[in-house]
């Protein structure tokens, strides 16, 4: 039976053991079904079947690729050749990993091309796949041309084309996960895009600080700082607006990851201001902290969604409040 193991633990459900072994599994015997605990503490919505490494990893690599594609284009246009080359390699490598993770995570990977039968604006996954189908080859053409020196003008044009699509690549994944019944993701649909582009900027800037020589990294430092600051602010807003569902972002592994991510982003930002302009090692360390923070942000948001989907309270309580508010208004 699917998911006996991975449907575990409705965090904080009143039914004591119900979530521990999953629905219908041997030994689960929570308290009686009630309006607040739901049906033996079982999840109301089915949690995603996506594997964490694939999909949380995909959220990160998509952001990293988008931000480095923008940096690569800027470096090309402003005469920063080393940054341009390494950012192009990063943008194409990261999006290749993204595509690999997407295909690998399918239940039927050989049917990936079925994604291209239709274009559906109501499906962020469909929109995203078509975006990637345009974007990935452009990043690869840009990187290949830059490294081999073949068709340099076409290569630069491909890089600019990739940069035009890059903001979409870095941000659409927020709609992808928000367009679900997972309470912690859906309720955060206003803030998640800003968290995602900020963490993308921090990751891309961080990569440039690691990969490029000091005299070429000035724009990357600005981008990294804006990204780190944006991420801290957007996450603060998210916590403030989400109500009880915000606990998904505060507790358990999601909470630990996101707190560590914020500390790393803050440390990276301080490093950028204090060291990254003067010391190659300082720049690389600051960049590494920012990249690591961005990774943990994506994995933390993924974990928050899984915990929120598994907790029936997250589905039930906000819906009850909404229905009650509507009833009051009708009177």
């Amino acid at each position: 039976m699917s998911g006996n193991g991975d449907r575990a633990t409705a965090a904080g459900a009143t039914a004591p053991v119900a979530g521990a072994t999953g629905r219908g599994a041997a030994g689960s015997n929570g308290g009686p079904p009630t309006a607040s605990a739901g049906y033996y503490g079982d999840p109301v919505v089915n949690p995603p079947v996506w594997r964490e490494l694939d999909i949380a990893g995909y959220l990160f690599t998509g952001g990293l690729s988008g931000a480095t594609a923008l940096l690569a284009a800027g470096a090309d246009l402003t005469g920063r050749p080393v940054l341009a080359r390494r950012a192009k390699l990063c943008a194409s490598g990261a999006i290749a990993l993204s595509l690999g993770a997407l295909v690998k995570d399918l239940g039927r990977p050989l049917r990936f091309l079925n994604m291209l039968r239709v274009f559906k604006p109501t499906s962020p996954m469909s929109v995203g796949v078509w975006l990637l189908v345009g974007y990935a080859p452009l990043t690869m053409a840009a990187a290949a041309s830059n490294v081999t020196g073949v068709l340099p003008r076409l290569g630069r044009a491909a890089g600019l084309g990739a940069a035009a699509l890059a903001p979409g690549v870095a941000s659409y994944t927020a709609a992808l996960i928000a367009d679900t019944a997972v309470p912690a993701w859906h309720e955060a649909h206003r803030e998640l895009p800003f968290v995602f582009v900020s963490s993308a900027a921090a990751a891309g800037g961080g990569f440039a600080l690691i990969a490029a020589p000091l005299h070429e990294t000035r724009p990357a430092r600005h981008l990294a700082l804006m990204g780190a600051a944006g991420e801290l602010v957007a996450e603060r807003l998210l916590h403030r607006r989400l109500g009880m569902v915000a606990e998904a972002y505060e507790r358990g592994s999601a909470g630990r990851r996101l707190k560590t991510a914020q500390a790393l982003e803050a440390a990276g930002a301080v490093g950028v201001v204090a060291l990254a302009g003067r010391s190659r090692v300082g720049a690389a360390l600051s960049g590494a902290a920012l990249v690591a923070g961005a990774v943990l942000t994506r994995f933390g948001i993924f974990a928050a969604g899984m915990a929120s989907a598994r907790d029936p309270k997250h589905t039930i309580e906000p819906q009850r409040e909404r229905a009650a508010a509507r009833a009051r208004q009708a009177l």
Partner: protein, 292 residues
């Protein structure tokens, strides 16, 4: 199956989803009315569904939760009979079932199923077009198209769809699309011995359900209420709706489900502004960083 893949489904929501999906010549919208007040928990529906649709076993578990061992809807459980045991006074029970210690007890049973929503999130988010709207207004996953991306699984506000282990694709109730095409009722409704599962034209079922609630209220069962029958609810009304005897949460149903794509416009707007902010940030970085 282009007729069923209405990408604008959510934008055009109304009472006739088959028409919106492009079916010109179509039968009336068909659905289920599951009257849980007469469910006896026999699970004939679960068995008939499995037999007819060739659904694999869903785990041979002893859950310890009353008589429910199939747990909930999923890839291998398309009808699920919930068993709710509560220490509250039953609306009516046999006098000789009265416990000597005066402890009250009641047992609610309900056969859950895919709701075949008017505004179906699974259909909206499916990126392959594997999920489509049939001419009967029902929602079906085409197994020969589905690539198991899993997007529909968390999109469903009711937790109906799931990926089948060892197969990789998504499965759920088809409202016996094959039987409907031959003018037969779905296997679960056919097998139900108390007619708790009623199959028919959705409009007629809604009338029947309204009468049944009035009948129960008149008989003193004031806790009887309908769930999912209202076309004005967050999913445009369910094609499979219920008469319940307690709050929906008790049966594992969401109290106020909303199709997630209702907020899609807002999501894309926020994504657009964020993407613009990233472009602005990158531009500003290079402008401010012009001095080396």
């Amino acid at each position: 199956m282009s007729a069923g893949e209405g990408p604008l489904n959510v934008l055009l929501s109304g009472g006739d989803p088959a028409a919106e999906a492009g079916w010109l010549d179509r039968p009336p919208r068909m659905g289920f009315f599951t009257d849980t007040s007469v469910c006896i928990g026999c699970k004939a529906c679960e068995v008939a569904c499995k037999e007819w649709n060739d659904v694999p076993e869903d785990g041979l578990n002893w859950s310890g939760r009353s008589l429910d061992n199939s747990g909930g809807l999923g890839a291998d459980t398309w009808r699920h009979v919930a068993f709710v045991e509560q220490r509250v006074k039953a609306g009516w029970h046999e006098p000789n079932f009265q416990r000597e210690d005066g402890d009250e007890f009641r047992w609610l049973m309900s056969s859950d199923v895919c709701k075949h929503c008017t505004d179906a999130a699974c259909l909206d988010v499916c990126p392959t077009g594997a999920i489509f709207r049939t001419e009967f207004g029902t929602v079906v996953v085409q197994a020969d198209v589905c690539n198991g991306c899993g997007y529909c699984v968390p999109a469903c506000p009711y937790g109906v769809l799931d990926r089948r282990e060892g197969d990789g694709r998504i499965f759920k109730c088809t409202l016996c699309y094959d039987r409907l095409k031959d003018g037969q009722e779905p296997a679960c409704a056919k097998a139900c011995p108390t007619d708790s599962i009623k199959f028919g034209e959705l409009d007629e079922l809604r009338v029947q359900a309204g009468e049944r609630v009035q009948e129960l209220h008149a008989a003193g069962v004031t806790e009887a209420r309908l769930y999912g029958e209202d076309p004005a609810d967050g999913v445009g009304g369910d094609g499979a709706f219920f008469l319940l005897l307690d709050e929906p949460e008790v049966y594992g149903l969401p109290p106020d489900p909303v199709v997630t794509t209702r907020d899609l416009g807002s999501m894309w707007r926020h994504v657009g502004v964020a993407a613009g902010a990233l472009v602005a940030g990158a531009l500003a970085s290079f402008v401010a960083g012009a001095r080396r």
